[in-house]
Subunit: 393 residues, 2 copies
């Protein structure tokens, strides 16, 4: 038997439907399937080989009894290990298993290849990339964002990668920020509402609603789960001052780790309280300024001087904590790492509120008007949207 | 000088306003304040003594320059340690500090006492309590919930403590669930909308929207941050079957830790993928079934057999993981730990979706109607609401 070349194989292989919507058409045909003990050894036509546990194969059966046809969800519950090996057959280069109890499972060869042990899934969601010196945000035209998948993908990719992206040349239309957000997912409502107006107001309950300068910060660190993504759409910006500022909190934290490991340790291991109170709310959460995963990688920055609550630390730890806080403050505000620019009417800045810090310079409310409309989105739904757009790319 | 008794002291002490809304009126007067090095040593009339760092006192100054009068937020930024000791004076039994630069800070004695180093804050939010054998959920009448703070507090306290509470004798009114939820906070919207109808539908995209039995599970473990609190309001329940089931996932996990430490370890240390796909969404998250904090305490259970995605584990780990999964499955579904009852029309069950698993028996959609309306809320806002209600208690 002559072996087909990979290219020919991809052209002629019979693709079996599986339960997921993800594409599995690109793989090679199978040329061998051998059961042995609690595993099946599969060989593809390019000699790639992989072992699959019987328990795994039974659990992943895509038949209509094991998967709901409409929801695609798993119905099979893996409560018993297969007690004897199935009969393995190849059909159209794909795998068919006949289990001892008569159940038949049919797996596409490409689908199995994507899932062989040790093989990671492929995901269009980009890795985070720290801002390099001189970083400037990617710009996407409003018309491209709303005009087709490519613009929206570019916007999503930049935002997920850099934590910041600028949309420009949009209409000066009330609620445009909500319309753009709802293309991605439902607005994430907080104690400030689902959509908020950033302008100088009488009786503010938040520093953003004044004209004072706002040092760099993250929003709502007093929530267990602060909002992920913030959108700020500029409708008016004629007042003197009011330039927007941003910095990559992860990059600043890494600079702190490099320069002052002890300060980094204190800020990542000392939980402090954040608290917001008004007549209607009293929202409290305790967490360190820098949250790390079990491997010491940064997960989140919580940094907001206004709503830092009373510091509850043993007497001998307070001064060291303040020194570490000050050091991080200075790094974050260092002009070398900080972006500063005026938002133009029709521009919308979007950023990852759990990574990128934002602020603004003071403005003079008597010199002109400044009005931004903002909302929040869940990162889960940005990633989801990028995956859906990538299906047809 | 004779020492006043504590009771008399509380009656006569002059309370100074501080920037927070929390009550600090209950403390004793100060009788001494001594600066020494970088600290001030305070003595209250009952001889309780505490040391406060100068850095801390400067940071917590409540004057109108250091705190915004309308937002109550901190304006002072602790960028410099106080370089010399302030002059400390007592006035009306409270503390006044005159700093070297002329700044004056005035602190109420009771406020300081609440915040002395080593003193934890008092919070009306109850600790979680595992379900004991024979646990039954607390019941609160709809009329009491909407009729005043006491009913709502009882409902919130039971829900936060037990992870489950039953509201009863409510009206059979469309959207009543939304009205009740909005007393607490904005609805938490997901890919299934802000408010969802649980009934058998044509073309379901979720097993809940069929008539099949639903084994115990948590909702949306494929989100980074699954919704915290779920409300399910029963409008109709005439069909045969459809009994609701619940179990305390934390208690079940602790039972697993006790009985099978290795299975517990595998489920808490092995991240697996959860994934939901339909035409509009592809939402993926990787996390272990049991999430622990750095001290090994349970933070969250993610358990949903329908949307477990392809298991990506090394060949030699798969069988052990399936055994551990099966063991936890059996514990969770053990009738000794599981509640089962029929929701009556006008009842609403609320539960902590990240702790308590829920399910239902299959029902016969031809035998009658079954219709629940559901939504989600953020735990942050339940806790906040309880704190606000406790202000006036």
């Amino acid at each position: 038997m002559t072996t087909a070349t990979p290219f020919e194989a991809r052209q002629t292989r019979v693709i079996w439907p599986m339960s997921e919507l993800t594409d599995h058409s690109g793989g090679h045909s199978l040329v061998d399937a051998l059961t042995s003990g609690a595993r099946v050894t599969l060989t593809w036509e390019d000699r790639q080989q992989a072992h699959f546990p019987l328990s795994w194969l039974r659990d992943h059966c895509p038949c209509t009894e094991c998967r709901h046809t409409a929801t695609r969800e798993r119905l099979y519950i893996p409560l018993e290990l297969p007690d004897s090996a199935p009969e393995a057959r190849l059909e159209d280069g794909n795998l068919e298993l006949a289990w001892a109890d008569g159940h038949i499972s049919r797996f596409d060869a490409g689908w199995l290849r994507q899932r062989r042990p040790g093989q990671e899934s492929v995901d269009p969601v980009p890795a985070r990339r720290p801002w390099a010196e001189g970083f400037q945000p990617a710009r996407v035209a409003h018309a491209d964002f709303v005009g087709g998948a490519a613009g929206e993908r570019a916007w999503l990719t930049a935002l997920l990668r850099d934590g910041l992206v600028l949309l420009e040349d949009g209409p000066l239309a009330d609620e445009e920020v909500s319309r753009l957000a709802e293309r991605i997912g439902p607005l994430r409502a907080t104690n400030f509402g689902a959509r908020f107006d950033v302008r100088s107001k009488p009786n503010p309950n938040n520093a953003a609603y004044t004209a004072i300068g706002l040092p760099l910060h993250t929003d709502l660190p007093n929530w267990r789960q602060p909002p992920d993504i913030q959108l700020l759409y500029c409708l008016e910006n004629d007042a003197e001052g009011g330039e927007s500022t941003f910095t990559d909190g992860f990059a600043a934290a890494e600079a702190l780790r490099e320069r002052s490991p002890e300060a980094f340790r204190l800020l990542s291991e000392t939980p402090i309280d954040f608290r917001f109170q008004d007549e209607e709310h009293d929202i409290v959460w305790r967490a360190p300024i820098l949250t790390l995963d079990h491997d010491g990688q940064l997960l989140e920055v919580r940094f907001n001087n206004w709503i830092r609550d009373s510091l509850r630390l043993p007497l001998d730890q307070a001064d060291a904590w303040y020194r570490a806080y000050r050091e991080f403050w200075n790094l974050v505000h260092d002009p070398r790492h900080r972006l500063e620019f005026s938002l133009l009417p029709g521009q919308m800045i979007a950023f990852d509120n759990r990574r990128v810090l934002h602020g603004r310079n003071a403005f003079n409310p008597n010199s002109g008007r400044r009005h931004l409309q903002g909302t929040y989105l869940d990162l889960d739904l940005l990633e989801s949207r990028l995956r859906v757009l990538a299906r047809s790319a």
